[in-house]
Amino acid sequence: MAGRLASAELTAVEAPEMAFEGAGFDRAYRAYAGRLRAVAYHVLRDRDAAEDAVQAALMRVWSSRTYTSERGPLLPFLIACVRREALDVIRGSRRRRERELRAAPETVVPDPTAAIDPVEARRVRAALERLTPAQRDVIVRAYYGGATLAEIADTTDVPLGTIKSRLAVALRRLGGELSGGTP
């Protein structure tokens, strides 16, 4: 692909501008840091570790020079990158976390009034309510509860393969509800 060849010739420092195609790396960080930190913090429960995860994820994106506009809107892409980074960090301390998860009360959808984006949070909550109870449950456990697929399979006594496909279907349906559905 021509785009990739061209960017490979750039130096690391020139790359970010190319990578973000005028969106501007600085503006992206300044606009999104709050949301990205919330995503990392929800997983890591430590404000410094969360900041580190955000920085590490952005550094990776910035220096890998792989992001272009055809990869989709920047914010959802960065949110996914940060969450992967945060989850990678806790994989190392999984044993400790398992104990915390077991001690944690039932996972629930966060309170929209306390959300970073209350309007969007209410929309998400309404969309979640239109899913089947099993679909909603698997999304809430995986996203808000921070459980791994194996943990969900374990606690719900459902085969891992079923959990995987159920979660995939649930997220697709949630996307459909959010983009096309009227409330």
Binding site: M1, R4, A12, V13, E17, G24, D26, Y29, R30, A33, G34, R37, A38, V39, A40, Y41, H42, R47, D48, A50, E51, D52, Q55, L58, M59, W62, S63, T66, G72, P73, L75, P76, F77, I79, A80, R83, R84, A86, L87, V109, P110, D111, A114, A115, I116, E120, A121, R123, V124, A142, Y144, L149, K164, L167, A168, L171, R172, G175, L178, S179
Partner: protein, 198 residues
């Protein structure tokens, strides 16, 4: 890597694929529009879920993670400074923002390097600088309001003025040229010094 992502597209967007699988998916996405669309849709739904999360508290301190490369280091410093500023009082916020803008624009637009200054106990300082001498950005924690930036070269000391107070204190200088040594001085005492490598 020609295999389509299948349900892993959604699991990837949620961060639930292991790192090896995630890398394979990323490689595949570069050449497969179908899977890319699926991942983009899944990431949009996952981002919507994220909007219901509560805000995170700001980091406690200026963080200095892995200084793996000049680029990463500079990026990390700028991130850390920006986020530290977000936590500062409203007073001076606009000024901070203006300084961040100037510094980030310069960093993004040119080849630069960085050096950690040798500091007195209690002081942490770094200098980021353009390799062509077009700008220098000094960041320091643990300095008082009277800390000045001195640029030494060709036997001459140039006083560039006081660092702008804050946590961290910073000073952005345009057009210093290539300097021999960077020194932070307060009340005649050297707080930190270092030698840029151009």
């Amino acid at each position: 890597m020609n295999q389509h992502c299948g349900d892993d597209a959604e699991l990837y967007a949620l961060g639930l694929t292991d790192p090896q699988r995630a890398s394979a998916i990323e490689e595949h996405l570069a050449s497969c529009e179908e899977c890319r669309s699926r991942v983009i849709a899944a990431e949009a739904a996952a981002a919507a879920l994220a909007s219901a999360l509560p805000a995170a508290p700001a980091a406690r301190s200026l963080r200095r993670p892995q200084w793996t490369s000049g680029l990463a280091a500079a990026a990390a410093v700028v991130f850390a400074v920006t986020s530290a500023w977000e936590g500062t009082a409203l007073q001076g916020a606009a000024q901070h923002a203006a300084r961040t803008d100037a510094a980030l624009s310069a960093v993004a637009a040119s080849h630069f390097s960085h050096t950690t200054l040798t500091s007195q106990p209690g002081t942490v300082a770094k200098a980021l600088y353009a390799r062509d001498g077009a700008w220098m950005y000094v960041i320091a924690n643990g300095v008082g309001t009277g800390a000045h930036l001195i640029l030494r070269g060709n036997g001459i000391d140039r006083d560039l003025g006081a660092l702008v107070a804050g946590a961290p204190a910073t000073l952005f200088v345009r057009g210093p040229g290539r300097v021999g040594e960077v020194v932070l001085v307060e009340d005649g005492r050297t707080l930190a010094h270092g030698v840029p490598v151009y």
